[in-house]
């Protein structure tokens, strides 16, 4: 299955099981969604449960939050992460505050689905995911495999808190992977050890998971460097224990994500290491992410994005400097 198919499988399964689950988005009906992200749902569930929305992102998210507050369990799709700013007040002033500010009473089982990064479509690549980890009250996940795409979506749908579910566009249709369609949900907030290694800890997420694994394989076979690859899977909550344990062993940390470096996931992961066990670091940390420019289009983009070569270079650097 592709990641997209896996997400759709999770959604369709929950919709069959639970009448309260429905879907709001643009072009999610007959057209099957951006990047075919809702393919087949309209045919099975029809327009009452797969709802076409006007171009009004703030109202879409606001309405989903309100519907969740009043007993439903909606999914609201913002076609691309670039449009999250248009719904930002709902996403950060409303969704995450409801429970806390109501004295712990409100439940807001809403899933906000969006897509970020480069990919087969190529448009709207902005990845603003890091912002949402800064604000207490949201959960934020980004799968890096088809199995986790299904598993995390299931968890998101069963969670009573607002969850931002982010599809990395680069992985929308490939690589495909095994998915157990009767498998368990992937718990939110648990990183996954994607590859064991003892030389360097590489923490990554989303589109950078397969790329990091490829880099690790090459480093192992050509240079004998064993990289431990941790797929963070969740940005909020962040699984620090797993990273700490690994860095204590390897003494070296590289972070890799498609978002910008400054204030990104890599900054937070690094800071937590520096809070818990700075003495474990035998070499300066290297953070890999998009270059500090507004994410460019087309043929300029690859020069801004993290790449196989930049990951290799980062690992070499942490190994060389210790």
């Amino acid at each position: 299955m592709s990641q997209t198919e896996a997400v759709i499988d999770a959604i369709a399964g929950e919709m069959r099981r639970d009448e309260r689950v429905f879907y709001i988005g643009q072009d999610v009906g007959r057209m099957g969604g951006s990047l075919q992200g809702t393919h087949g749902l309209f045919a099975e569930f029809g327009p009452w449960r797969i709802r076409e929305a006007p171009i009004a992102e703030s109202a879409m998210v606001g309405a989903a939050i309100g519907a969740a507050l009043f007993g439903q369990r909606p999914i609201v799709e913002i076609s691309f992460g670039e449009f999250l700013p248009a719904a930002m007040n709902q996403l950060v002033n409303q969704a995450p505050n409801l429970r806390y500010m109501s004295g712990g009473v409100a439940r807001v089982p809403v899933v906000v689905r969006t897509r970020v990064g480069d990919g087969p479509y190529g448009g709207h690549p902005q990845d603003y995911s890091a912002w949402f980890a800064h604000v207490p009250g949201l959960k934020v996940v980004m799968p890096g495999t088809p199995a986790d795409a299904r598993g995390l979506m299931l968890s998101a749908l069963r969670d009573d808190n607002p969850v931002l579910f982010i599809d990395p566009m680069a992985l929308a249709h490939a690589p495909r992977g095994e998915v157990d369609c009767d498998g368990e949900a992937t718990p939110i907030g648990q990183a996954r050890l994607a590859r064991a290694g003892h030389d360097v800890t590489l923490v990554t997420i989303g589109s950078m998971v397969p790329l990091s694994l490829r880099a690790a394989e090459q480093l192992a076979s050509l240079e004998g460097i064993e990289v431990e690859v941790i797929d963070s899977r969740s940005i909020q909550p962040l699984d620090t224990a797993c990273v700490l344990e690994s860095v204590r062993r390897t003494g070296r940390l590289v972070t890799v994500h498609e978002a910008w470096v400054t204030g990104g996931l890599g900054a937070e992961v690094t800071a937590r290491i520096a809070e818990e066990c700075p003495q474990a670091l035998r070499a300066p940390v290297v953070r890999v992410g998009t270059a500090p420019v507004p994410t460019p289009s087309g043929k300029v983009r690859p020069h801004a994005l993290p790449s196989f070569d930049r990951i290799i270079a980062a690992v070499r650097r942490v190994v060389a400097s210790s």
Binding site: F22, W48, R51, A53, P54, A56, E57, S58, A59, M60, V61, G62, A63, A64, I65, G66, A67, A68, L69, F70, G71, Q72, P74, N89, Q90, N93, Q94, P96, N97, L98, R99, Y100, M101, S102, G103, G104, V105, A106, R107, P136, G137, K139, D160, N161
Partner: protein, 308 residues
């Protein structure tokens, strides 16, 4: 359905409680002069409907839904006994009573949430409805437009009432509303109506019609209730910016309704006076009870109340 005396009582509750709260907290946003709009908009909702009142002293609405007055007063005093455990802005209301709460202070955002309440009812094919009020200043926020568009597209069971009190803090509505708010309804293909917001019966009748349409599946309505902000934006506001004279012939919504009841023989003046006395007493007791409780503090920090 509130009988005339019960309706009058809500108006009095609205005013008396507000006056008392203003004295307690100079940062409270007073409702005086706008009682008819607030009471008339919400008094005919059923318990399982949703109420999404504007931020300006919405307590009478919470009381209609069954909130306890002393716990609301506790919110204004920053007490742990508030429904909000002292955490949020005080004008927040208990979500467990079908209220769309105020969990932040940015205007316009709650209108999206209110529209979502209506979506929930629509989706479950029930005849429940939502009434949502918002200010004339708020009407310019993009969220209001988006919510109205969405509600119109999906024919959601919601009644939007713009509580036009002529002001947004120091700005006069004449500066930011070149046309009335009701004139916007046509652009969404929804019924629009402008009513005298100081006439509780007019507000009520207009909202009732809109509620009926909503329950029948005929979608949203936009009502503009014209009223007036008698006091400052906040209780302690000196209003040095108010240069224009008050409009002529401003009605006091309580007096106005009292005169009507008397004229019609629907109530006697001593009955009305008793209502005032009873409500004053009720307010005083609620405040006293709230005052006697502990302030919110470390125990209400609630690190475990962020996620459920």
């Amino acid at each position: 359905m509130a009988d005339p005396l019960a309706l009058y009582r809500w108006l009095v509750v609205c005013r008396e409680l507000d006056r008392a709260l203003c004295l307690e907290n100079p940062r409270w946003f007073p409702i005086e002069g706008e009682e008819a709009t607030v009471v008339g908009s919400f008094v005919d909702l059923r318990p399982n409907d949703a109420a999404a009142p504007h931020y300006r002293d919405p307590y009478v609405v919470y009381l209609m839904r069954g909130a306890e007055m002393w716990r609301l007063a506790a919110q204004v005093l920053g007490k742990a006994a508030g429904y909000n455990k002292g955490r949020s802005v005080p004008f927040n209301g208990p979500v467990e009573l079908g209220i769309v709460p105020w969990v932040a202070g940015d205007l316009g955002t709650t209108i999206g949430t209110a529209t979502g309440a209506a979506l929930a009812f629509h989706y479950e094919r029930s005849d429940r409805v939502c009434v949502c009020t918002f200010g004339d200043g708020t009407a310019n926020r993009g969220d209001v437009h988006e919510a109205l568009s969405l509600a119109a597209c999906w024919q959601l069971p919601i009644v939007y009432v713009c509580q036009n009190n002529g002001w947004a803090i120091s700005q006069s509505a004449s500066d930011y509303l070149p046309a009335g708010v009701a004139a916007r309804a046509a652009g969404y293909g929804m019924p629009g109506e402008c009513v005298d917001g100081n006439d509780v019966e007019a507000v009520r009748a207009s909202v009732q019609r809109a509620i009926e349409r909503a329950r029948a599946g005929d979608g949203p309505t936009l009502i503009e209730a014209r009223t007036w902000r008698w006091r400052g934006h906040w209780a302690g506001d000196d209003q040095a910016y108010r240069l224009q004279p008050e409009p002529q012939g401003l009605e006091d919504p309580l007096d106005w309704y009292a005169y009507r009841l008397l004229e019609r023989g629907a109530a006697r003046s001593d009955t009305l006076q008793r209502v005032h006395a009873e409500v004053s007493e009720e307010v005083a007791q609620a405040l006293a009870r709230a005052r006697a409780t502990p302030d919110a503090g470390a125990a209400e920090l609630g690190l475990d109340d962020v996620y459920g």
